[in-house]
Symmetry: C4
Subunit: 237 residues, 4 copies
Amino acid sequence: MAKTKYEHIQLEAYEANMQLPKSGLVLFTFGNVSAADRALSVFAIKPSGVPYDELTPGKMVIVDFDAKVVEGNLRPSSDTKTHAVLYKQWANIGGIAHTHSTYATSWAQAQRDIPIFGTTHADHNTVDIPCAPPMNDEMIQGDYEYETGYQIINCFKEKALSYEEVEMILVGNHAPFTWGKTAAKAVYNSAVLENIAQMAWLTESINCNAPRLKEALIKKHFERKHGSGSYYGQELI
Amino acid sequence: MAKTKYEHIQLEAYEANMQLPKSGLVLFTFGNVSAADRALSVFAIKPSGVPYDELTPGKMVIVDFDAKVVEGNLRPSSDTKTHAVLYKQWANIGGIAHTHSTYATSWAQAQRDIPIFGTTHADHNTVDIPCAPPMNDEMIQGDYEYETGYQIINCFKEKALSYEEVEMILVGNHAPFTWGKTAAKAVYNSAVLENIAQMAWLTESINCNAPRLKEALIKKHFERKHGSGSYYGQELI
Amino acid sequence: MAKTKYEHIQLEAYEANMQLPKSGLVLFTFGNVSAADRALSVFAIKPSGVPYDELTPGKMVIVDFDAKVVEGNLRPSSDTKTHAVLYKQWANIGGIAHTHSTYATSWAQAQRDIPIFGTTHADHNTVDIPCAPPMNDEMIQGDYEYETGYQIINCFKEKALSYEEVEMILVGNHAPFTWGKTAAKAVYNSAVLENIAQMAWLTESINCNAPRLKEALIKKHFERKHGSGSYYGQELI
Amino acid sequence: MAKTKYEHIQLEAYEANMQLPKSGLVLFTFGNVSAADRALSVFAIKPSGVPYDELTPGKMVIVDFDAKVVEGNLRPSSDTKTHAVLYKQWANIGGIAHTHSTYATSWAQAQRDIPIFGTTHADHNTVDIPCAPPMNDEMIQGDYEYETGYQIINCFKEKALSYEEVEMILVGNHAPFTWGKTAAKAVYNSAVLENIAQMAWLTESINCNAPRLKEALIKKHFERKHGSGSYYGQELI
């Protein structure tokens, strides 16, 4: 196949998609990841319904931020419009992941925010993981995946959350979406969310009156990883 | 071994059976899959009690829709009569799978339908997964596996369900049966059911008042995968 | 190493022990299996505290039914006396397995019999899996592992159970013991018990009023695997 | 790289760190292990945020018991000060492990000691696994990781526990720390703790009135592994 100007995001999307089954985050094809090129205003996304072991970088479909296919012979993921809306509205994200991972999806089905119970959560977020309410019937019967994107954005607006600080959400009755600077970071966030979701469920099961993490600890843990004086990880990384 | 006219369904049944341990759906030999040839009115099924790593396509037993062995030296699965009844009554299925997978079996033991809580479920079914009640004592003491087939069919009649739309059931106190156009699809449905069963249990554990999925979402998700205007997967698949 | 008259049971015990980590039934060295030669009145058992990946058939210790070491340089499992008592009292068992497998051990810690909820259980047993009560202090302070054997035997006597029909027990506050005609069968029973234990826990979690399996089904399922007119498995197996 | 006098603890720390992902105790980089040389008053510890599959013995950072880096180009684990405090205060430990393992962390988030329910627990400890309360705000805003070390030590003082007998603790809202004579033993203790934590959760779920293990059994099991007349394992091990 001739080299194209989209190969870098096809490769990025391919590699990030392949992390989903490796990390135990998907059954069959119940998930998808995209990688954007901000300069070109397009993203590469998994083709719909294609098994992971049949994926290749070249099969990633190139789509613009209005969800129009730019290049590729395969139909893109059925969730493509949701990705497009998020890329269009949120200027600083470079990758999006969607899974039906077991524990996060169960919280979405339970229609509850995931309470912040510990430092594992606080290392990544300072708030309860938001669960967007199910859409109203009009939105569902309309342009469903497009509206799913707006449901996510509206939830962040209502809760006054920053998409650069909180890189994950549950869509009520549906499943999680996560994002980040890169597709790899979006998948990383899916794995972190699944872990947080499992431990929050267990925490309530062990102590039905488990208190939320105290504010000082929330602040401390997030800052040691993300604040201006952060001291987690290596400078060069 | 000489080539026979049943080799294609033996191979189909063999490959589908081998997916069960790979997918974590069986312990030891607690499961079986069959593949039918509608033109020949027979199906190939796993021999009873033979470990999966000793299976070969040629060991699959050929049985007709009255459960009579047509070809093969081994005794067919003890659940063979249940398969035969379903093939005989339901003209459009080509494969059947039976497992004792952990979560689905636990719902069967709990004698509860699995509530439809999310879109993972709605992508495959528009209803709660039915749980057929345990048989009465007369049926159990009679031709048990034959009656199990009728228990399944009667449950679908009573609930006015279509076996072409709902390809899975729990048999109360026992375990799940799933089916489809092919043996591979039947096994796929077993894996989906197990996933749905686990998440429904978790959902109720996280929120004991979790509401069923709203009708508009049920309809939307099923139609995007299965309706006339479906847009999931590839045209050519 | 010179060939000895115990090699066959050393090999049998070795292979059965190696199944424990493969089946996910042990963490580190928290388990042991033995294999008996009834004619010689001895059994081969895992050496104490030796990691599974350092085991060899030759390291299996030969012990008589009074728990005296007959051959071997290593100290036998700390549970050896329990094995010896069972072999001495129950003439028809050829193998014993002891694990701290997660779900079965949790039922033992909860000090509850495992209710018979479904056909997976009934395929192997017609009764609730018994949980022997914790020993009295005198027995504990006395010859503890020896008394553990008697605690098991007394529990079977009190409940009027046959060790040939029910090949598994929970020792309250401790963990399961299983047995069978061979060491391999004992390990098989450990895996079955773990599966039954997990599903019984889930069943109660899904329906706190889940009813026990009805008598007709208990009888039917056990007989189809074990009765005189059994039709599970192959004649020749 | 030239041979240094720290290579032995770098290797020890490296090998112990690599056991964490193998044992399923960490997601990504959420854990760290250190190994001390008591004669040199230093320890080798995992560099911060470096993925396990990029680790090498030479990347282990050498730190003294005041948490000052002695050798190494990489920034040490963000939990380094906690390790340093424990080495300084507790003269007889040679290794420390910190993970966010699922079940132990959930108990920490639930802010509960793990009750001693069975002999698996008693084989390692005679007490409930302590959960140190969350720090007060002053401590959190101060030298946080240093104070975490003191929080652990103070909890042991208040509960009159010996760090040589109880080699594990939960830090409330955070996660477990374990230790031992060697780094390998510290990791072993992390795996044991995770197992105990999972089974204690299941035990309460199966029987909400499950009693603690009786004193005679606690004493018996601990002594058979650790007492002067211990008879678990081999003399030479």
